[in-house]
Amino acid sequence: MGIIEIRGLNKFFGSFHALKDIDLTIREGEVFGLLGLNGAGKTTLIRILMGLLNPSSGSVRVFGIDPSTNPLPIRKRASLLPQECQAYENLTAMENILYYGLMQSEAPKEELIERANYLIDLIGLKGRENQLTKKFSGGMKRKVLVARSVVGNPDLLFLDEPTTGIDVLGARKVRNLIQKLSRNEKKTIILTTHDLTEINLLCDRVGILVDGELKAIGTPDELEGQFQAANIEDIFSSLVEGRIGGDEE
């Protein structure tokens, strides 16, 4: 049994078919990358897994629980870092992190403070934890948000485009942090990205979403074998171009 089980999932927004017959199992401890163009349905899928959107049909289980009917126990063990998410700018880094911890976890406050301090150290913000986040750079803010999402010690992390919109250096630091969380803390991580090198660096397995359809799932190696391609980029382009029927572009 996987930590996430998705069977025959469909999602409609009105008449728009956003997710089409998705079947997917995520195993405990893996880093799973969701790849897809804008509008492919990545965010929608993650929102359904967190119980923020309801599926139109099909079955979804996270930790064996249906998020559409009983999201709260899932949210105690799973964190979401939404796409374009921001920190509260009138709160300090410490306050942002602790806020989430106190809300998500039932651990005593002292324990959470200790863990927040550990995380602040980990993201390299020691000494600046009591500054308001509005004074931080994009990369620093993002690291605060990633730290925030793990302060309550969840088993599962959804990171929706964690490195989009920040500079190269910031992105690299966030990637390192994700790596540490996976290696040192054995978190199961599902992340979406437009960055193919990120997939290669971080992900154990990849799923490629094209127009709401999960066209391919596997480890980068498996996929390269399956599609007889040299790298993920080629696979991705051929799947996506297949969609637009061989047109130039």
Partner: protein, 410 residues
Amino acid sequence: MRRQLTTLIVQELKQAMRNKSLVFMFIVFPLFMWGLQGGVQFLAVSNTSSEGETFYVINRDLGNSTVNLGELLVKELDAMTRINASIIYGSVINTTLQVDSFSQAVSLVKEKGISPLLYIPENFTTVYDNFTDTESSVVPAVTLLSRPDDNALFVNDLSTALQIVLSSSPFTKVTYHKVTSFKLERIVFEGEGEESFFLLGLIAFIATLIAVQAPASYISAAFSGEREKHTLEALLALPMRRIDILLGKVIAAFILTLVFAVSNIFGMVVFSKLVRADLSPYQMFVVTLVLVITSFVATGLGISITSFAKDSKTANTVYQFVMLIPTIFVGFSAIFGTVPDKLTWVYLIPWMHTIAVLQKILFPQILSNSTLTGNIILDIVFHLVYLFLFVMVSFIVAARLFARESILKS
């Protein structure tokens, strides 16, 4: 659950206190509004009220062997009408009238409309001379009679001028105690308290305006603001029911309203000093209470609106439209009269009920003949129940809207 709720509330308050425009709306704005209104009134009073106004004096004081204090009083007043900086500068004293008794003076005022009229009794000097500082009760020495259709501001000034004269030489030559107890009596005939009724109407208007405006800033920060600043989705993804998130924010709004109420009390004190009206602590308490209720109702309505609107700009525009127009409408009816005594469509506006509560608590005698139910207490209960239901409905609507999928941006 308890910890989540307190954490949320504390966080909301912390952020609000660090948000300059919010602090402005909740603390500075009320002080400013009251001060501004008071200042305008103050200028109006000092510029226009006394010029060319006439008042009557009947001095029946017999004096004693050495002095006639009544005459002295009239002389001092007369001098004040000539001093440029005095508050009754430019007014005219008419001392030609004669009466044989106080009741004759009263009928002059009531039936002939001769007012304002200052009546100085025969024993004015004697009473003053025999006055001992062991006497604890107030001695009514002179009486200022006026009618509701007199220029209220002028009468106010006249009364102040009299108090000034009575608290300066030679009236102060004895003891402090004597001065404070030796008071002017003031009687307004017909529709007692009309003048303060007008003032309270004005206060109700300002209070409503502030109470309706203040929560808007918090609400737009706490709801549309979360969406626009991209903090909402992570909040909704926490293991807390949406209705509890809403509740936390409403409680935070309520706490801010209390902070705001305190600031208003200060504002009111300044206001009453500026317009030289003595608001009693009871009146201020009632105004504050109604203010808090108004603010809370506005919060409920505001939350529904912001949950509807797609961004805070739209929310603000809609809010202003929904709130301000009825507020101004209601405000004018508060200043220029009493709330309707029939159930008309205007009672759909919640502020009509808050003002009704205010008027009915403060002036039960005046309004006892114009109640909705025939009983003033029952009326007040009715208005409060309406407001309560209104808030409940707003919250239910807000909770519904808050639970929609489309609250998340795509």
